[in-house]
Amino acid sequence: MTTLAYLIPVALFLGGLALVAFLWALKSGQYDDLDGAAERVLLDEDDALPADPRAGRR
């Protein structure tokens, strides 16, 4: 029984962490361009990374 006292909070905390991570990713626009993100991995960025055009909006 005593194991439940910390196992359940740990399980819920980890699940909640994943939920918060997803909501954060959604909010920060990481789901806006899934096709683009898949392709950008393959690009060699010679020059500095471009500033995000959305930066000013946040």
Partner: protein
């Protein structure tokens, strides 16, 4: 979607004019940190290499501070420092082969989608954790442990119910307030009652709590709703991404001779406008200087360009082809032809407004039946053993087991799969209801110019021309953007040396004139090119050498590829096919004869088309209207269901339920076939849901449904309808129907960089 995915290749043609300078500024917005941003549609971006090429090219443009491509929406956001003139980004993009265009922009980012996604995430988290705790309860947890698990479940389920469930509460409340029933009413009631009852069980140390049922129900239903939304959103985004055909503004000549680019809404009667060749006319106006030809195909359906001179009245939406014009605005944009069409379209709302979706019709019956059953169950148990706690528990179990989980998923999933199937065939569906109405259609009405035909002339009888003469004509024609010139240049004979002219001049409204070896060649209107020879009133196109006719050219509007087969298939599978056109009688007869359409009406005004459709509807017909022009827009709105090509006028595309992106008309029968199969699957799924209820409800009424049974029954029925819906994705197919790759239209137009 990768480069080679079907449907990726065409999203309409880029407009001939590139958005630059003032127009770009008008479309941009301030970011508040000293920068401006504009979003451009770049339909040709397909892969990682394209992203790199576009972003690199844009960042090299003077004044640009940042550029980012969104591959999913095929758009690029460009920023520049505020206060500077907009950098020449469109020219830079066109130069590397990605001509951009401005598009219809609506409320920016989609709030509903992110709300739905957040709700799915929260409901999923809650459903997963509550289910884990429930499994422990089912496998034998007792006493204090069971109570603890129930309490934790209640704590997890409450925020999920509030956050994810409010979408349903809101919708159910709205429906009830207007005295209607929808699917969300039984869902909202079932979920909240289940939660309330479980909470009571927990307080009284009971054995059966339905926390898992209420949250997993929400989770499944939200998935269906999100899928439905994503499908519609994707189609809308693709349609919005097509180029705007109507101008945002025009150059206004001030009294002191100054020039000022103004938005269309601020143009008032009496203002003088400068319209360059290749631009569309923004408001109804009168020509005061200049001569040119106007392409009226999109406005009136006339396939031949109309010459205009000072004094002529011109309509908003027509395209100025050959020479610059100075116009005097006669009416403001709010009273122009375009606005008139929008008003007619709203007035003509036809079967669409009266149509109720299958899911709505079912739920209007379903909800009262379910609630009545639960209530009768409650009364029955009260009568049988008088234990109100037991009676309520059983009644709520009935509500949970009948909750329209299968229904909520069955319809959207079939429609999502159908939309995917249509997308592969180059057709965008804007709404699930459109699919249901298309399956019902039993008559077809086509517009002619731009729908059955491509709306651009093609040279006929080119073989009969002497190759040398044709080569001379082609060399002259290459200097003009007039559609007839383009047709001559496109059909240029191969293997003949291209003659070189010393000088070439275009005379708007008349033709082209060039000098070669001291001889004067003219290509154009017969009365101008060879005044002495031309018969009175002769209107043909000729090539003349020093006033002597050397060759005559004849044109016909090219039929859309697949038009004949599509008309034949539709006549066989749907019903009578009619052609309604605003063009002249002979042109209509010729096209109708070539396609085998017997029922033809020519020279129709937009109002006449609507009247025809109304008459057909009054005769009990459910009409599928396919059209592209501004003049078709009211008819598209009035029809039971409507389709438009991607090249259609903006309001036509917005009015239509379906937009097909490729040139081939084969899209129409393909869409119809898919819609019918989808309709069949929806009915099957509804039947499955009913069978499930027939089996499950008696068990629930007899009081044998424990939370475990409810969880298994709900999941099983959902999986069953999803599996059935997915059959649409495979199976024999329309995909095999020959959809010829669309000939790239921009190969015909003059190089866009010329401007």
């Amino acid at each position: 979607m990768s480069c080679c995915a079907p449907g990726a290749e065409v999203l309409g043609t880029p407009s001939a004019t590139l958005p630059e300078g003032e127009e770009l500024l008008l479309a941009s917005r301030s970011l508040g940190n000293g920068e401006r941003q504009v979003e451009l549609a770049v339909p040709d971006v397909h892969c990682g290499a394209c992203i790199h090429a576009v972003e690199t090219a844009l960042r090299r443009v003077e004044g640009v501070t940042g550029a980012r491509v969104n591959l999913s929406t095929r758009r690029v956001a460009v920023r520049w420092r505020e206060g500077l003139a907009p950098p020449p980004v469109a020219a830079a993009l066109a130069a590397i082969g990605y001509p951009p265009h401005l598009f219809e922009d609506e409320a920016g980012r989609d709030r509903t989608l992110s709300e739905l996604l957040r709700a799915v995430a929260v409901a999923g988290f809650a459903a997963g954790n509550v289910m884990l705790l429930s499994v422990s309860v089912w496998s034998g947890a007792e006493g204090a442990t069971r109570d603890l698990f129930h309490w934790i479940s209640a704590l997890i389920a409450l925020p999920a119910l509030v956050f994810a469930g409010r979408i349903y509460y809101r919708s159910a409340f709205n429906a009830l307030r207007h005295g209607r029933m929808n699917m969300d009413v039984p869902i909202a009631i079932g979920v909240s009652l289940a939660y309330a009852m479980s909470l009571y069980e927990t307080l009284t140390h009971g054995a059966h709590a339905y926390f898992d049922a209420s949250v997993s129900l929400l989770f499944f239903l939200l998935i269906g709703r999100t899928l439905d939304h994503v499908m519609r959103d994707r189609a809308r985004a693709a349609v919005r991404g097509l180029s705007r055909l109507m101008p945002r503004g025009a150059v206004v000549l001030a009294a002191d001779g100054g020039r000022d680019y103004r938005p269309v809404e601020t143009i008032e009667p009496g203002m003088r406008l400068l319209i360059a060749a290749g631009e569309r006319i923004p408001v109804d106006a009168r020509v005061i200087a200049g001569t040119s030809d106007l392409d009226c195909a999109l406005v009136t359906g006339e396939s031949r360009p109309q010459p205009v001179e000072p004094g002529a009245a011109v309509r908003a939406g027509t395209l100025n082809l050959s020479g610059p014009l100075t116009l005097e605005a006669e009416r403001p944009a709010s009273a122009s032809f375009l606005a008139e069409m929008v008003r007619m379209m709203e007035a003509a709302e036809g079967g669409r407004a009266r149509y109720r979706r299958i899911a709505e019709r079912v739920s209007a019956l379903y909800a009262p039946v379910v609630h009545l059953t639960a209530f009768v169950t409650f009364l029955g148990w009260m009568a049988v053993d008088g234990d109100w706690h037991k009676a309520i528990t059983v009644a709520i179990a009935v509500l949970i087991i009948t909750c329209p989980c299968a229904l909520g998923l069955a319809v959207p999933i079939v429609q999502v799969v159908a939309a995917r199937r249509l997308f592969e065939n180059g057709v965008m569906v804007k709404d699930g209801a459109g699919l249901e109405r298309l399956a019902e259609a039993d008559a077809v009405v086509f517009d002619k110019t731009g729908t059955l035909t491509l709306g651009r002339p093609r040279l006929v009888g080119a073989e009969a021309l002497a190759p040398e003469l044709h080569a001379i004509a082609s060399a002259l024609a290459a200097h003009s953007r007039h559609p007839l010139s383009e047709a001559i240049a496109e059909a240029a004979p191969r293997g003949v040396a291209t003659p070189v002219f010393e000088t070439v001049a275009e005379h708007p409204g008349l033709g082209l004139e060039g000098r070669m070896d001291g001889r004067l060649w003219r290509l154009g209107r017969a009365a101008w090119a060879a005044p002495t020879e031309a018969a009175e009133g002769e209107d043909g196109t000729v090539l003349a050498e020093d006033g002597v006719v050397r060759a005559r050219f004849h044109f016909a509007d090219a039929l859309r590829p697949g038009a004949r087969e599509a008309v034949a298939t539709l006549a066989r599978t749907v019903g009578p096919v009619t052609m309604l056109s605003g063009d002249a009688e002979p042109a209509c007869r010729a096209v109708a004869a070539a396609l085998g359409i017997a029922d033809v009406a020519a020279r129709l005004m937009p109002g006449d088309k609507v009247a025809r459709l109304a008459a057909m509807a009054a005769g009990g017909r459910k009409v599928l209207m396919v059209g592209d022009g501004l003049n078709d827009a009211p008819a598209l709105g009035a029809a039971h269901v409507s389709m438009a090509p991607a090249t259609a006028a903006d309001i036509g595309r917005n009015a239509a339920d379906f937009v097909f992106l490729r040139d081939s008309l084969a899209a129409v029968p393909v869409a119809r076939a898919i819609a019918r199969r989808a309709g069949r699957l929806i009915r099957q799924n509804l039947a499955l849901a009913i069978v499930y209820n027939v089996i499950a409800v008696p068990i629930a009424i007899l009081g044998h449904v424990t939370p475990l049974v409810a969880a298994i029954a709900m999941s099983a029925s959902s999986l069953l309808v999803i599996g059935n819906a997915l059959r649409l994705a495979g199976g024999p197919g329309e995909a095999a129907a020959p959809v010829a790759p669309a000939p790239r239209r921009n190969t015909l137009s003059a190089p866009v960089t010329a401007r």
